[in-house]
């Protein structure tokens, strides 16, 4: 996990030392779990229309 975090950070232009990547790993696993939760919702073909407009108008 830590190595994966380091590789991703490197790709994002944020080289991280080992201890910092290790620190991030624990929190990131929760965040990535969130991705799976979000992707589990079937939303059909709907896109995120007008994201930067007031949500109430969308």
């Amino acid at each position: 996990m830590t190595e994966e975090v380091r590789a991703l950070a490197q790709a994002a232009g944020l080289p991280l030392p080992q201890e910092r990547a290790s620190l991030l790993s624990a929190s990131l696993s929760m965040l990535w779990l969130g991705r799976d939760v979000l992707l589990s919702l079937p939303l059909g073909e709907e896109g995120p229309a007008a994201v930067f407009r007031a949500p109430a108008t969308t």
């Binding site: 975090v5 991703l8 950070a9 994002a12 232009g13 944020l14 991280l16 910092r20 620190l23 991030l24 929190s27 990131l28 965040l31 990535w32 779990l33 969130g34 991705r35 939760v37 979000l38 992707l39 919702l41 939303l43 709907e46 896109g47 995120p48 229309a49 994201v51 930067f52 407009r53 007031a54 949500p55 109430a56 108008t57 969308t58």
Partner: protein, 471 residues
């Protein structure tokens, strides 16, 4: 009236006295500046005090008042603005040394509107670094201390705004709210703070945290004061594409309509989980007061609650890092540890997660619109806990503090926090009322009705040592 009597007034009370020429803008501004000189060593609510400019403005406004030329209810009222708002000729630090020398050439739209309405800007208020956190434990400018217990945080990210209003260093303040940053410090400091509907108030000239979740709003002693400030700062702005082209109602004219017949929903999921027992009791008592005033209270179920925390963080952090990445790459050591960690996490969230979170957001709004056919307002505790101690860990405290507020940043609905009591240890607790999109008037009117029936908003912190304001 003198000193602490003046700074203990609400905005509306001070405005009436200025209109009757019983006090002058100069006296009022002088009194607030004196409070700042006395209390800042303890409270640390300000990053920049604009004393000379404030006094010059107050003198000018005093001359206008003497000629009977009043600009409106904010004429001569001392206000503070969170140090995220551009103020021409003064630094806007966002609570970071990276922007310590950033001096804008123009005011943020809302600051310009306040000045035009006659407000006196007394200074720039301390905050959580770059508004990315809920404690205002700023590692560069020092923590904002809670006026009710100086060993505790003021909440955040608009902690300076909450503390300054609570102790009378200014009579109103501007805050921003991306996950609860107006409502959380309002709750923890015992004042009233309103996050309007997304798109109601311009974001132009405000250092961003997350463009699609950021909101600007008033922090004051009362709902009436929030209504008066919102009337001035709200409305279309051609320099902010997210600002809606809708007319602004006269909120202050709707305040006396009461709550009789309003349907208030108590959400059954999420908002009462992990809530401190004293906090829960006080909030339930506040809802009982609204019921006694004629509101109909019922339980409601809000769909997608399990998705919402994931969606908020999956939007907020990538948007934040999109703004910060160049500086983060160059000067990572210039960020505080908690903020740096959050930004690094944001850099590692996949694009698909961000886009899916925005799709979920749209589904949540559609589903909650249906809920709001059955109710006019929701009522919840603003925060599950009272103000944490300063030495407590920031990451854990922030996660707990934003739990009940950030769902309404995702949906963009108007939400207010009003003081609804004190724990046995003397710490304030907030009631959150949430309305339909664009219906700030209903939120303010319910909050006002509650404050007409209670006196929690009249209590002043022990560090104020002031007599109660005049009724």
């Amino acid at each position: 009236m003198k000193g602490q009597e003046l700074t203990g007034l609400t905005l509306a009370e001070a405005s009436r006295l200025i209109r009757r020429r019983e006090i002058s803008p100069t006296e009022l501004t002088e009194a607030c500046l004196a409070r700042i000189r006395t209390l800042e060593p303890q409270v640390n609510a300000f990053i920049t005090v604009m004393a000379e400019e404030a006094m010059a403005t107050a003198r000018l406004l005093g001359e206008e008042a003497a000629r009977g030329e009043l600009r409106g209810p904010l004429h001569g009222i001392p206000v503070g603005v969170k140090d995220l708002f551009f103020t021409a000729g003064f630094p806007t630090t966002a609570g970071s040394p990276l922007l310590a020398h950033h001096i804008s050439q123009e005011d943020a739209t809302v600051v310009a509107r306040l000045r035009q309405a006659g407000a006196v800007v007394v200074g720039k208020l301390n905050l959580h670094e770059f508004a990315l956190g809920a404690t205002s434990k700023n590692p560069h400018f020092g923590p904002v201390r809670n006026p009710w217990d100086l060993s505790r945080v003021a909440g955040g990210s608009s902690g300076g705004s909450g503390a300054a209003v609570a102790v009378g260093e200014c009579l109103a303040a501007l805050g921003t709210d991306t996950g609860g940053s107006i409502r959380i410090p309002s709750s923890l400091c015992g004042i009233t703070g309103l996050k309007p509907t997304y798109g109601r108030v311009s974001l132009h000239g405000v250092v961003p945290l997350s463009w699609s979740l950021d909101h600007v709003g008033p922090m004051c002693r009362t709902a009436e004061d929030c209504a008066l400030v919102l009337e001035v700062i709200a409305g279309p702005d051609e320099r902010d594409a997210s600002c809606a082209p809708f007319p602004v109602p006269r909120y202050s004219h709707q305040l006396e309509e009461g709550v009789r017949g309003l349907r208030i929903g108590l959400p059954q999921e999420h908002f009462w989980e992990g809530v401190d027992g004293e906090v829960a009791n006080l909030v339930r008592q506040a809802v009982d007061v609204l019921a006694e005033l004629g509101a109909q209270v019922r339980e409601v179920s809000l769909p997608y609650m399990d998705m919402i925390p994931h969606a908020v963080v999956s939007i907020m952090l990538p948007e934040a890092v999109a703004y910060h990445l160049p500086r983060l790459r160059q000067h990572p050591e210039a960020y505080g540890e908690d903020v740096r960690l959050r930004l690094e996490m944001g850099a590692l969230i996949p694009a698909v997660q961000y886009v899916q979170a925005q799709r979920v957001r749209k589904a949540v709004v559609a589903a909650w619109r249906e809920v709001f056919r059955e109710v006019d307002l929701l009522a919840t505790p603003t925060t599950p806990i009272v103000a944490p101690r300063i030495e407590e860990g920031d990451l854990e405290a922030t996660l707990t503090l934003i739990r009940n507020t950030n769902p309404f940043n995702l949906t963009g609905q108007p939400a207010i926090s009003v003081p609804c009591g004190f724990t046995n240890s003397g710490l304030p607790v907030g009631l959150q009322l949430v309305g339909r999109w664009w219906e700030e008037g209903t939120v303010l009117r319910a909050a006002h009705a509650y404050q007409q029936a209670t006196s929690w908003h009249r209590r002043l912190p022990p560090s104020s040592s002031m007599p109660p304001p005049r009724g």
